[in-house]
């Protein structure tokens, strides 16, 4: 299986610094991108690598680029998180190409639900909500290390 080192503590620190600012931009309480109806915490260990790879790609391709704000401090933190995701995705991608990070039916289904949640909102709202849920992703990554 793939083992990719990712400085979760650094990403956490960057996110914690902007969490209140980002979450305040998301007024919708009734929809979650990552945690409902399926919780990341219910992902089987066999699917973890694939889901991680899909989520890193999701954040790089569909979230960070749509989260520019008027606050340069927030923007700097977002780009430092994005860079961490980019390098982790690159390393995980290599592993994926060597067929060590296979996607089963369940993880494909779960990721489809995440995309469906994302597409319920306009791009900016969906991206900002996804960014505000980074602690949900990091909590899951922490737990499943």
């Amino acid at each position: 299986t793939c083992r990719v080192s990712m400085s979760l503590a650094e990403i956490r620190a960057a996110f914690t610094a902007i969490k209140a600012n980002i979450q305040a931009r998301d007024p919708i309480r009734t929809l979650s991108i990552l945690s409902h109806p399926h919780s990341l915490h219910k992902v089987k260990s066999a699917d973890r690598c694939c889901i991680t790879h899909q989520l890193l790609t999701f954040y790089v391709d569909k979230v960070f680029k749509h989260c520019r704000t008027e606050d340069s401090f927030v923007n700097r933190k977002i780009s430092s998180i994005a860079n961490s995701f980019l390098s982790a995705r690159r390393r995980l991608g290599q592993c994926h190409e060597q067929n060590n990070c296979m996607c089963g039916e369940e993880s494909t289904e779960k990721f489809k639900q995440i995309l469906a949640n994302y597409e319920e909102l306009n791009v900016t709202s969906a991206a900002m909500k996804s960014l505000g849920e980074l602690d949900i992703l990091l909590d899951w990554m922490d737990k499943s290390r």
């Binding site: 914690t16 009734t30 945690s35 949900i136 290390r145």
Partner: protein, 213 residues
């Protein structure tokens, strides 16, 4: 109740205060209102549609409400909200920010027990337990909640005032090569790297090594 138009000032600073995942909603009374204000409370799981009323916190005059059992699943995140009532009028609902029990709780210091020989002291540390609703419930150590939990331990030689600091992952520490018949004071802190959470240091536990045989 006939809440036609809410003209009462709003409750202020509505927020969760959490220690070891005992999650209590706190707020300040609306500005300029004396006694007699009553409140009601509701909460919601983030990502799920509906608000849920908290019956035990309906028409209360205190400014806190224990939502620990309603927010005990730390894989979820929550909002809570408070509304004030006085003389037939009311305030708006005032919401918290999104509450994540895992990252937004504070952790108490560990329990410390110390024993000594003539040239060493042994320290045993115990992480606090997660809040639980009743004594019959199974205890969950915060060590299970935060697998990366570590301890920072401070050992002070009372005579020379020399201090050592240790960072350990398991919960026992033996400090060797000490001076016989000397007082040492131990204090410990919990450190979680991710999410970043530090407890305060425990109070000092002092012990004197046995005299030389």
């Amino acid at each position: 109740s006939g809440e036609l138009y809410c003209s009462l000032p709003n409750p202020r600073n509505v927020r969760f205060e959490s220690v070891n995942m005992k999650n209590v909603l706190h707020w300040l009374a609306p500005e300029g209102t004396g006694d007699g204000v009553l409140y009601k409370v509701k909460y919601a799981v983030y990502g799920v549609g509906k608000w849920i009323r908290k019956p035990e916190c309906r028409n209360i005059n205190r400014t806190w409400c224990d939502l620990s059992s309603e927010t005990s699943d730390y894989e979820e995140q929550y909002y809570a909200s408070v509304k004030a009532f006085l003389n037939g009028t009311c305030s708006d609902w005032m919401e918290t920010t999104r509450f994540n029990p895992l990252t937004d709780t504070k952790i108490d210091p560990p329990m410390v027990s110390v024993s000594s020989t003539d040239r060493s002291i042994s320290i045993i540390l115990t992480a606090p337990e997660k809040w639980k609703g009743s004594p019959e419930e199974d205890s969950i150590s915060l060590l299970q909640v935060y697998p990366g939990l570590q301890y920072n331990v401070s050992v002070l030689n009372k005579k020379t005032k020399k201090r050592w600091l240790f960072s350990i992952s398991n919960n026992t520490l033996v400090v060797p090569w000490l001076e016989p018949g000397t007082a040492y004071c131990v204090s410990a802190q919990i450190h979680v790297t991710t999410p970043l959470l530090d407890s305060g240091f425990s109070k000092e536990y002092c012990i004197t090594t046995l005299k030389d045989k």
